[in-house]
């Protein structure tokens, strides 16, 4: 491990690429249909899978009759769990006390626990024939009853889902600092609420797709997967299927988005690999959208009951929260069921000083697909609840929402600051982002417009969402509490080959994050070549001994950090070899734009010249100076980096139709040093629009028996260009964080701040009706019900 070098600001005259709007290197292929996604892969003798899935939420499998399917045209084989005695089971152990890990066989064995769970698989010559045959598989299920509602599932009369999970409670965890209940009892003021965000789908546009190929002669298995965690998939499948890592390669080629949905290990990945080995043929599975909506991990569904106490001046004293997280039928592998709900409690106090905190979370099993990582993990829900409480407090005291935030945000001189759950915030622009946003929106003139509009049957609302998050988390903290996998380290290998070309290898896995460009910018700037001369390789387990992938806003900070330390080590080798060649001190050798030179002399060569001298020429350098131009270093930030932002939404609600339109959206954020401002903006925009979806559109509707009622894209709506306003993004750079590049992660922030800001804006718009938002998404229908309930009470 390398010591953390500080960002080196006083460098030479070498051209700078970090911070430039470099056009992406991935684009030419992706724009012209020459990308290669998993579903694009074709191989000779390839066979195709179709899964037979449960249409019931919780049932005993009485029988599965595959005989007709086996006789259908083009069918090669049909398998159930009974046909595969060595079928592995997925389970995610946790170091957490009183945690009950669930067990999920790759095909259901005797019980199904959610609609969409795979019961059998058909192998056929093409996907059409496979689906024809799948329709002939007769599955006899005996209903076991289902408690789909998470609150009901914790009650004594609930139907238990797993024998080893008493009372459906997978986990329970509490945090306490000070005496929150006591302080709340004696506080001058309190506000409370019961907040809920509904189950959503990550909904990447590319559905999950897998191709496994087995080279029998060489005994080599290759899995191409739409996963964003190829390293974790490799490690887990190698363990489950007893495959040595050197004979089992996992590749993530071009991947069409994930947002968390492709960031876990899936039963179908196990099956394609098993069957490729079994049948000695390439095996392909591409899920359709219905399968995606019923078998890809879903996004959190949580309920928070919370109370915030504060004094006459609006200074926060105590926060108390009870959280229930609906984790679905199985804990997600490898992250465990703690991933999402426990982080809600960890992050709930947010960027504020709240001396007393008590938070308790319970994770509960329900017969629905597992919830897994989703962009923002834990924080969208935590921030929604906290920011609503903050606005309720402001309303109670009659102060503006920005003012109450100003009074309670952690101030610059107070960093590092530890919040009640134990999370440590490092210096980041909490107040600076707020002030920037406030200046941009001009609250006073908005209030004027709001009053005028109300007279014309339009309800306008302004809402803030202020938050902090940890990004680029090092190995000191597990990204998922209790999960026994190190995700805090990244290794990079950078080399100059015998042609003078530069290749840098990482264990990250880009699925839209532009890492082929941003990592090339970093390597180029550090080494003194042009970004277009650097090739980035990643997403392939054969390239690196270990690595996990790209998720949790880690790749810029950790991957970028590894790029810097490795490239600096390589530069030393370049300088050493050139020093011998020029007969000067290595320190006097400089590089830039692909040239190696000593300023003020005529020593001036290219990287190609040096490579020839080192590798090919037997005379230019003495033997001992001909060391490979290659360096490999690891980087681990140990702790995480704090990223902060304030989001502001303006909404307009039609008093008659209750249609909710978002008319303005602004983000003021501190992401440290930007590697590529275009890419940063793109990440913010994408996250915000997903947050808009969570706030006003997206909801997987399950009925009380666990049936999904929104199983097509016509029922599960995500934002289109027409529902989204122009997005404004202001970047603020406070003190640079303590990592080699001065980077902060920013891939998730959009989904974290936007739901809260929109909930507050809607609440502001309807405040005159005496109602507010406690549940997201908020739709015209729900708004209508809220208004009707309120009128009934009066």
């Amino acid at each position: 491990m390398t010591d953390t070098p500080r960002p080196d600001r006083a460098q030479t005259i070498r051209p700078k690429y970090i911070g430039k709007k470099v056009e992406r290197f991935e684009d030419p292929r992706l724009l012209t249909g020459r990308g290669r996604y998993s579903a694009d892969i074709k191989a000779d003798r390839m066979v195709h899978l179709a899964f037979v899935r449960s249409d019931q939420a919780h049932a005993r499998i009485v029988s599965v009759d595959t005989s007709d399917a086996a006789e259908a045209p083009g069918v090669i084989a049909v398998y159930t769990a009974a046909d595969l005695p060595e079928l592995p089971e997925l389970s995610a152990p946790s170091a957490m006390k009183d945690y009950h890990a669930t067990v999920c066989p790759a095909l259901a064995r005797d019980t199904v626990r959610h609609v969409g769970e795979a019961v059998a698989v058909v192998v056929a010559q093409d996907r059409y024939l496979a689906e024809d045959a799948a329709a002939l598989v007769m599955v006899d299920l005996e209903p076991l009853g289902a408690t789909a509602d998470p609150v009901a599932a914790l009650k004594p009369d609930a139907v238990p889902l797993h024998d080893n999970v008493p009372g459906n409670k997978v986990l329970e965890r509490s945090f306490a600092t000070g005496d929150a209940p006591g302080e709340i009892a004696k506080a001058a003021h309190t506000v409370s609420g019961r907040f809920r965000m509904r189950r959503k789908s990550p909904l990447a546009m590319e559905t999950r797709s897998y191709v496994a190929q087995y080279d029998t002669g060489r005994d080599q298995l290759v899995l191409h997967t739409s996963s964003n965690i190829p390293g974790i998939v490799r490690d887990e499948l190698a363990r489950l299927l007893h495959l040595p890592g050197n004979r089992f390669q996992v590749v993530s080629p071009d991947v069409g988005g994930s947002f968390g949905g492709k960031g876990s290990v899936y039963p179908e990945e196990i099956i394609v690999v098993m069957l490729a080995r079994e049948l000695e043929r390439p095996v392909k599975f591409v899920s359709d959208r219905l399968e995606d909506l019923t078998s890809t991990s879903q996004a959190f569904d949580e309920i928070i009951e919370a109370t915030l106490a504060f004094d006459e001046d609006g200074i926060f004293i105590a926060l108390d929260a009870e959280v229930i997280g609906d984790i679905g039928a199985y804990s997600i592998v490898p992250w465990t069921a703690a991933l999402e709900p426990v982080q809600v409690v960890s992050f709930l106090p947010g960027p504020y000083r709240t001396p007393h905190y008590r938070g308790r979370v319970r994770g509960v099993c329900t017969p629905k697909p597992p919830t897994g990582p989703y962009r923002g993990v834990g924080r969208p829900m935590a921030v929604f609840a906290m920011e609503r409480l903050v606005d309720l407090a402001a309303a109670k005291l009659g102060v503006e929402p920005d003012e109450i935030r100003r009074r309670n945000l952690v101030r610059p001189e107070e960093f590092p600051f530890r919040i009640g759950s134990g999370i440590r915030w490092d210096r980041s622009g909490f107040l600076e982002c707020l002030e920037n946003a406030v200046a941009a929106v001009d609250v006073a003139s908005f209030r004027k417009r709001q009053t005028e509009a109300r007279e014309n049957g339009k309800w306008l609302g302004l809402g803030f969402g202020t938050y902090a998050e940890l990004t680029g988390i090092g190995s000191r903290i597990a990204v998922a509490p209790g999960m026994p996998i190190n995700t805090g380290t990244e290794t990079a290998a950078v080399r100059v080959d015998s042609t003078g070309a530069v290749t840098a290898t990482f264990a990250t896995a880009s699925h839209g994050q532009s890492l082929e460009t941003t990592l090339a910018q970093i390597v180029a700037e550090e080494l003194g070549v042009r970004p277009q001369d650097v090739t980035i390789k990643q997403g392939d387990t054969s390239l690196t001994p270990h690595g996990t992938g790209t998720y949790a806003s880690r790749s810029a900070v950790i991957g970028g950090g590894a790029a810097i330390v490795s490239t600096r080590a390589l530069l030393k080798k370049v300088q050493a070899a050139a020093g011998v060649l020029f007969d000067v001190e290595p320190d006097t050798v400089e590089t830039g734009d692909g040239e190696i030179f000593v300023p003020g002399t005529n020593h001036h060569i290219t990287f190609g010249d040096l490579a020839r001298a080192v590798y090919s020429d037997m005379k230019a350098l003495p033997l001992e100076a001909r060391k490979p131009l290659e360096a490999q270093e690891a980087f681990d930030p140990w702790l995480g980096t704090t990223t902060a932002a304030t989001h502001v939404a303006e909404v307009e609600i039609d008093a008659e139709t209750l249609e909710i339109r978002i008319t303005r959206f602004l983000v003021a954020e501190d992401c440290g040093r930007m590697i590529n401002p275009l890419v940063v903006d793109g990440q913010v925009h994408g996250g915000v629009v997903q947050g808009i979806g969570a706030a006003i559109l997206e909801e997987l509707h399950y009925d009380e028996t666990g049936q999904l009622l929104s199983a097509t894209l016509a029922d599960y709506l995500i934002p289109t260009a027409a529902e989204v306003p122009t997005l404004e993004v202001n970047h603020i750079e406070t003190e640079l964080p303590d990592n080699p590049g001065g980077f902060r992660g920013m891939g998730e922030g959009g989904t974290i701040g936007a739901p809260a800001a929109i909930a507050n804006a809607i609440s502001d718009a309807v405040a005159h009706l005496g109602i507010g938002v406690e549940e997201l998404p908020m739709t015209p229908n729900k708004l209508f019900r809220l208004i009707a309930e309120r009128q009934e009470k009066e």
Binding site: G33, R34, E206, G256
Partner: protein
């Protein structure tokens, strides 16, 4: 089911492929003709990733059967430009970072090619409406709108 020969013009080239007539046109292009630039995101006619131009007008290839392509003139994203010689629309998308994972992109490009020919697109709101049949989960649309705005201005001889 018996397979039939389907002959059509794709990106200016006459091609014949053999498929069951029930095969979706999107699968026919991808699997039989090997043109994997056309993507499939839903097969429900909603996402727009499979958008092609059929006899000049945009069409969702997942809602067509392969048999319906007999004799047709089809343009796919591969017909727009190549990595070395990109179409102006592709260049604008690159310049404005209007794609991230790139999965929705071919569908957007085909839609943009059409709306530039058929719609006035005076305001950004018009552009947003014209793009609302294509879903993108990565970009939040902002950069796509900016790329199209640049193309519209260029078309109309307006300097931004």
């Amino acid at each position: 089911m018996t397979k039939i020969d389907i002959t059509l013009t794709v990106n200016g080239e006459e091609m014949t492929g053999r498929a069951e007539p029930r095969m979706l046109a999107s699968d026919f292009l991808r699997e039989v003709l090997g043109l994997t630039g056309t993507h499939v995101g839903c097969e429900q006619g909603v996402c727009g990733a499979c958008t092609i131009r059929l006899n000049g007008a945009t069409a969702r290839s997942c809602l067509l059967f392969a048999g319906q392509l007999e004799g047709a003139d089809v343009t796919t994203v591969e017909g727009l430009g190549s990595p070395r010689k990109m179409h102006r629309i592709q260049e604008a998308f690159r310049r404005h970072h209007a794609l991230q994972c790139g999965f929705c992109t071919p569908g957007f490009l085909m839609t943009v090619a059409e709306i530039l020919e058929t719609e006035e697109l005076r305001t950004d709101g018009d552009i947003r409406d014209a793009l609302s049949g294509n879903l993108c989960r990565c970009t939040g649309y902002e950069h796509i709108v900016r790329a199209v705005r640049e193309l519209v201005n260029e078309r109309d001889g307006v300097t931004a």
